[in-house]
Every structure is written in structure tokens, then in C-alpha cells.
Point group: none
Chain length 252, copies 2
């Protein structure tokens, strides 16, 4: 039982820009029924709110402990695997996985001691592309095409349910592929992307082009790779030397 | 696709003595997202109701076609398999099955042309024993013991989701990661590693250390990322600019 609780404690549900406090309350109840307790709210439109508390239906502890964050990077702090829920196929170069596969991946990471985030977008607009760019895969609940949008808390319930079933199952946690070192967390990745962006500027990579597209493309590439801390140190080292050369070249 | 619709048409969701019209609306939306449309209401406390329509969020067809019945026997008319949802173990001599098993049984019956009912009790009291006695098995969603009660529409969503996944077969159609472009081939990767090694030399990254270990580490990282050709072009471009800076710096 303690094992399950340890695993559950490493899995957080991140609600991004939720419009309706009732949905936050329903989501709290949904994860609580499945043995989870970590809710992270990124820029909620209204919270705390009596409607959230009413619909939590007793999962008040989950609401009371919910983290509130200004942006998704904060909400992902410490996590090494972020899985973003999306109803639609997007022009985003991310692997698309089912809730069941997502549960397996999340559980495997949690079993290795990593922190995992399930990320749910705004009720109407879902996750923006720059939010999905912070995720390692896109989870699609297999809804029908002509009526594809689940209520937010229903999507949370489906994921929490799949995770619960996977955790109770006997095959998942032990089959996790072993990595020498855990992947770097979200804050370390952001720091790397900042260093990378700065270096591209200094080596005059953009040549007048808009950097945004290139940075998104590079983010996707490195999100797929999930570098560990040691690998990040190597990459930082390479960037630092490229910067050094650029500064020498420009006579600074 | 027509096959799926035929199967879905043989599966009904029966809500017994529902107290909150909002839950009826949410349940309509939940089954609609998963490709179902048959809702049967047994002695609903309030229906039709504006709250039901609001929460159906566009699944008005499901509400409009919902049958209204005085008792469960009516609601089950024509069905040969009835599966009753229950959060608690009861003193009822019924097989207890998981939502996944229930979906398999329901689908097998529907595939034989039979009519199947999923039966959900009142929000507070669940299914009464005389209602469970009309069911062939009891479905228990594996909630935690100290907080076992899912919201009614959440329970409907979980069952509808399991049925949808079962109808789609193994989740194969979604499991292939969707990539815009295939990964670069081995020769292209080798060319990239040569360019990378050469650049590391030129920006004086190694500082007397043996390059082999670093190159192996970088290979592992980029093998995991599996860059496509476009991404490789970006990486080559970055390396070329770093080289240009190094050459300017050394006055070549």
C-alpha cells in the first residue's frame, strides 16, 4: 500500500488556465477517488472558489494543498516527464499516445523515482502549442471525431483511472527500462533552452529570421531526447565554448 | 465505422433515480464523446431540466432521445445483459468484475446481436439490492477505499471510455507516434557526428581531454532523439556558425 502511495505522490495533475472553478473541484474529487492528491493549478481564472469546494465533494485536502503557479514552467518544476492531454491532432511534432500507454509511461517513470506531470489545458482552447512544446508526448483520449471534447474533469478522471488500473496491475512498474541517470527536470531544461537561445544569437545563427520557430523545433528535438543532468552539462559546455569563440571573434 | 455504430446502438446507459439533472446532462456528453447515444432514465428526479441541457454541452440529441421509465424493469426492456455499477461490496450474490472486464462482456454480447445495459444508481445511495438483483454482474471501478464514490457522470465516463477502447480493439490506431518526418538514416547521422566532432575540436571544447567518451555520450543523446532530416539541417547550421566564429576568433 505504501508503495502505491509513493508512486501516486510522484504523479501530479496540472490544470492550465482552467476557466471554471467547478471543474477544478470535480478534478480534485476525480483524482482523489483514484488515490492521487497532487493538483497543480497554472493561472486558474478563479480559485479558491466556493464552487470548486462544493464539487470537490469532500476532497478538500486536495484543493487545500493544490499549488498555484503563474506559468506552466513553474507547474512542472521538478518533473522529468510531462504528458499533455489534447483532443485534437495538432501541428506539433510530438508522439501521440493513448491514455493507457500514457499510464504505462508515467508509472514506469514514477517507479524509477521520477516526477511525472499530466497536463490539461483550458476547457475551450486546450493546450496552446507553446504549452505542448513543454510536454514529451500528447495523450489523446479516443473520442469520436464529431464530438471529441470531454469535459475537463472527465478527462482527468479517465487518466486517473488508467493510472490507478496500471498501478494495481502487476506487470507495469517492474518492466520499466532502466536509465543510468534520470532525465533533467523542467527547470533545468528551461535553463538549457535559455542558454541555447542566447548562444544562437551570439553566433549569429538567425541572420534576420524569426527565432521562435527554430527554438520550438529544437525544443521538440531535446524533449524527445530527455537529456539527463550529465548530458546537459556537456551541452552547456559546448554552448559556452561556442559563445567564447563568438566573443573572441567580435573582439569583446 | 458502421460496425462500431451498430455495436454502440446495442449498448444503453441506464441512470436510475438520478437526483441532479446536471449529472444527466454530463452523462449524455460523456457517452456522446465515446460514440454512444442511448440514455435511459429510470424515475429521474428532475427531467427535462435546463441544467441537464447546459451540461450536455451539445449532446442535445442524446437528451432528446433519452427514454424515461417508471422503473428499472422498463429501462432494461429488450436487454439480455445488465451490468450494475457499484462502488461498494454488497451483500449481493453477484460476480464482481472490473470496468475492463465489463467492457469485454458487453462488447461480446453486442457482437452477438444482443442488447446490453450499463446500470448506474442514485448519486447518494447507489443501486438498491432489488435493482442489483436485476443485473448479471456488479462492476466495481477500482477507487480507493477511503474515498470510493465517483461522481455519477464520471462513472459513466469511465465505462463509456472502456467500451470505446474495447470497440476500437487494442489501442493500435493511436499507438504509433505521429511524426511529421521520418528520422534521418544512419549515414546522415554519421555525417552529423563527424561535423559535431570537428566543431568540438575547432571551438576547443576538449581542452586536452580524450574526445571519445564525450562523443559516445553525445551519440547516445542524439540516438534517443532520432532527429529527422530537417532537424539535422538545423543542427548542421548551428555547428557551421560555431565553426565560423571559431575561425574568425583564430583569425583564419
Amino acid at each position: 500500500m505504501t508503495d502505491l502511495q509513493d508512486l501516486a505522490a510522484r504523479i501530479r495533475y496540472v490544470l492550465v488556465r482552467s476557466s471554471h472553478p467547478g471543474n477544478i473541484g470535480s478534478a480534485a474529487r476525480a483524482i482523489r477517488t483514484m488515490g492521487f492528491g497532487r493538483l497543480e493549478l497554472v493561472a486558474p481564472h478563479r480559485f479558491p472558489d466556493p464552487e470548486a469546494s462544493a464539487l470537490a465533494a469532500g476532497a478538500d485536502d486536495v484543493l487545500a494543498q493544490a499549488g498555484i503557479h503563474a506559468d506552466l514552467v513553474d507547474g512542472l518544476a521538478g518533473s522529468s516527464l510531462a504528458l499533455g492531454l489534447s483532443a485534437r491532432r495538432r501541428g506539433v511534432n510530438l508522439p501521440e499516445i493513448s491514455p493507457r500507454e500514457a499510464a504505462q509511461q508515467a508509472l514506469a517513470a514514477a517507479a524509477r523515482g521520477e516526477q511525472v506531470a499530466l497536463v490539461f489545458g483550458n476547457e475551450r482552447t486546450g493546450l496552446e502549442n507553446d504549452e505542448l512544446a513543454r510536454c514529451h508526448a500528447m495523450v489523446r483520449i479516443p473520442s469520436v471525431e464529431d464530438f471529441s471534447s470531454l469535459n475537463l474533469s472527465q478527462a482527468v478522471q479517465v487518466m486517473a483511472y488508467e493510472l490507478r488500473v496500471a498501478m494495481l496491475g502487476d506487470d507495469a512498474p517492474l518492466s520499466a527500462p532502466v536509465r543510468e541517470d534520470p532525465p533533467a527536470d523542467a527547470a533545468q531544461m528551461e535553463q538549457f533552452y535559455r542558454h541555447l537561445a542566447q548562444t544562437l544569437d551570439e553566433i549569429e545563427f538567425h541572420k534576420g529570421r524569426e527565432p521562435t520557430t527554430i527554438m520550438l523545433r529544437l525544443r521538440k528535438l531535446f524533449q524527445r531526447a530527455q537529456p539527463d543532468e550529465r548530458e546537459l552539462r556537456v551541452l552547456h559546455g559546448i554552448l559556452a565554448d561556442a559563445q567564447r569563440m563568438a566573443r573572441l571573434a567580435s573582439g569583446k
